[in-house]
């Protein structure tokens, strides 16, 4: 019996070795997502009653404050993506096209902030934005302002920190797609009489669209759900999607309503990302190109 088991196991060894990763992903990603979808639709009336399907939790979310929170998060994510794109593109362009020597050093300096705990970096900004911080001291010294600017605990600080923390997510994909770009195409375009601007908009940017798309997803999605930065930099005044999710699950312990809100926000995020892609990248081919 044992021998036969051993033989059978030996034959299926490949399967047994490869399956833990799949089980892990299904158990800790697939199942939890299905669970919150289920929780959001099921109402438990009492311990001995049969649970029934309901839309109560979704209907309870149809109120203006909730809509405002979602809109605020979308706005924040949009600003973070647009600003980080506007910084990341010229930055990566310069690094890829103009830097010939010490490239590894520049790359090293680029990866390091990304590999440093982001909460520590958020903490560093307190020293810069505080009433007695670096910016205010410099401005006061230069005589640009007469009393300190209040730059912490407001929407400005949240936005600035979002751009700061998500900038590397935009830079790295754009950088790698610019690096893969065949530089002779740019030369050809310039030789054939296109102006540098035409070359930029008709050759370089279209050919690096994959990087821009990946960067946009990598910034939009986490920025939409971000809650550490708003709760540290926002002064607790405004709620965002991430803070509301954590409120439902951790403070209010209302997991059904939390589940409903989570599902709703994911759907809205999908719709928003879809809209962005439909508007800016009409040919929706992220999946194929990335593979």
């Amino acid at each position: 019996m044992l021998e036969r088991l051993k033989v059978a196991f030996g034959k299926e060894l490949d399967f047994f070795l490869s399956v833990p990763a799949a089980i892990w992903q299904i158990l800790f990603f697939g199942v939890p997502i299905l669970l919150i979808v289920a929780l959001s639709f099921i109402q438990f009336d009492g311990p001995f009653q049969f649970p029934r399907l309901t839309l109560v939790y979704y209907l309870s979310l149809l109120e203006w404050p909730i809509a405002k929170i979602i809109l605020r998060s979308i706005f924040l994510a949009a600003i973070a993506s647009i600003c980080s794109f506007l910084i990341a593109y010229p930055f990566s362009y310069f690094l890829v096209m103009k830097i010939k020597r010490f490239k590894v050093a520049f790359l090293f300096l680029l990866i390091l902030p990304f590999w440093t705990n982001f909460l520590l970096q958020v903490y560093g900004w307190y020293y810069i934005l505080d009433d007695g911080g670096l910016v205010n001291q410099t401005f006061l010294y230069l005589g640009l302002i007469s009393s300190p600017l209040h730059m912490l605990n407001n929407f400005f600080a949240v936005n600035l920190l979002m751009i700061y923390c998500y900038l590397p997510f935009m830079i790295l994909p754009i950088y790698s797609s610019l690096e893969k770009l065949d530089k002779s195409l740019i030369e050809a375009s310039l030789d054939l009489g296109a102006t540098p601007l035409q070359t930029l908009f008709n050759v370089t940017i279209p050919l690096t669209k994959v990087g821009i798309k990946i960067g946009t997803v990598l910034v939009l999605v986490p920025a939409f759900g971000e809650f550490a930065i708003p709760s540290l930099m926002g002064g607790g005044k405004d709620m965002y999607v991430g803070s509301l999710v954590s409120h439902f699950f951790l403070t209010a312990r209302n997991s059904s309503r939390g589940a409903a809100f989570t599902c709703l926000s994911v759907l809205i995020l999908f719709a928003f990302v879809g809209l962005v892609f439909y508007t800016f990248f009409p040919k929706n081919d992220l999946m194929e190109e990335e593979e």
């Binding site: 992903q25 520590l120 007695g132 911080g133 990598l218 699950f249 997991s255 589940a259 994911v266």
Partner: protein, 257 residues
């Protein structure tokens, strides 16, 4: 346009580096500051470092973070490698779709869903649940890197090894693994740093007993500034620099994100 590329591009690059490094430099500078204020540098001092080394809470947090990161790296790499080497094509495809799902769904949603799972089955929260969550994220990063490196291996080497009489296990140990070592080290480093950096999953899945470094920093910032955090940051930045140096020297074709 000429003016733009000659002056503005370098300027933007310079300013971006400044923007990225300003908080880091300030953190390091103020870790050597005598006073505990944000306003100005008063005198050089190492007192925050001595305070750091005498504090116990922070070392417990660091220890927890390292335990979680260590287990996460071990689990992600072993499961990821076996998965890439031995899984069937359809399974690969399905898991790939799940991987994409993890990218397009915010961390906070995954964290909330994981918490519901643990709460539903009344699993006590702690280091184990944290490792489970981090390994999920880690696998998402490790599998694509390991797969790319496995695809680049000349498969004739594996055939030759098998033809020359090596068993499957010997081929795995002596041919496949040595060829993939750079990619394995790179993905190990990446997963390690992601686990160490993670805040969202930890915030949801750690419960009250297990405090990681990220959680410690978060609660400290919420209650006010403390230059001990600057001292920790300086040490952490030195540590990450070392890891990034190793990562850059590996020269693997990996995504950094």
């Amino acid at each position: 346009m000429k003016l733009f590329s000659a002056i503005w591009l370098p300027l933007i690059t310079l300013l971006t580096y400044l923007f990225l490094y300003l908080p880091i430099l300030v953190l390091i500078l103020f870790s050597f500051n005598e006073a505990d204020l944000t306003s100005g540098f008063s005198a050089f001092s190492l007192k925050w470092y001595s305070e750091l080394f005498s504090s116990t809470e922070i070392w417990i947090a660091i220890q927890n973070s390292l335990i979680v990161a260590g287990f996460t790296v071990f689990l992600s790499l072993t499961m990821g490698t076996f998965f890439v080497l031995y899984s069937s094509k359809p399974m690969m495809k399905w898991i790939n779709i799940l991987n994409y799902g993890e990218i397009v769904i915010s961390d906070v949603v995954i964290a909330g869903a994981l918490l519901s799972l643990f709460a539903f089955f009344t699993v006590p929260l702690g280091l184990v649940t944290l490792i489970a969550g981090h390994t999920l994220i880690g696998l998402g990063y490790a599998i694509p890197i390991i797969k790319t490196s496995f695809d680049e291996i000349d498969k004739r080497l594996i055939e030759a090894s098998m033809d020359l009489g090596a068993t499957k296990g010997q081929t795995f140990r002596k041919v496949v693994i040595p060829l993939m070592t750079p990619a394995l080290v790179a993905s190990g480093l990446l997963v390690f740093i992601i686990s160490l950096d993670d805040f969202t999953i930890s915030f949801f899945c750690a419960g009250t007993s297990a405090q990681t470094l990220s959680l410690y920093v978060f609660t400290t910032i919420k209650s006010g500034l403390s230059p001990v955090i600057n001292a920790v940051s300086t040490l952490m930045i030195a540590f990450s620099s070392l890891l990034v140096l190793i990562f850059c020297s590996l020269q693997t074709k990996t995504r950094f994100f």
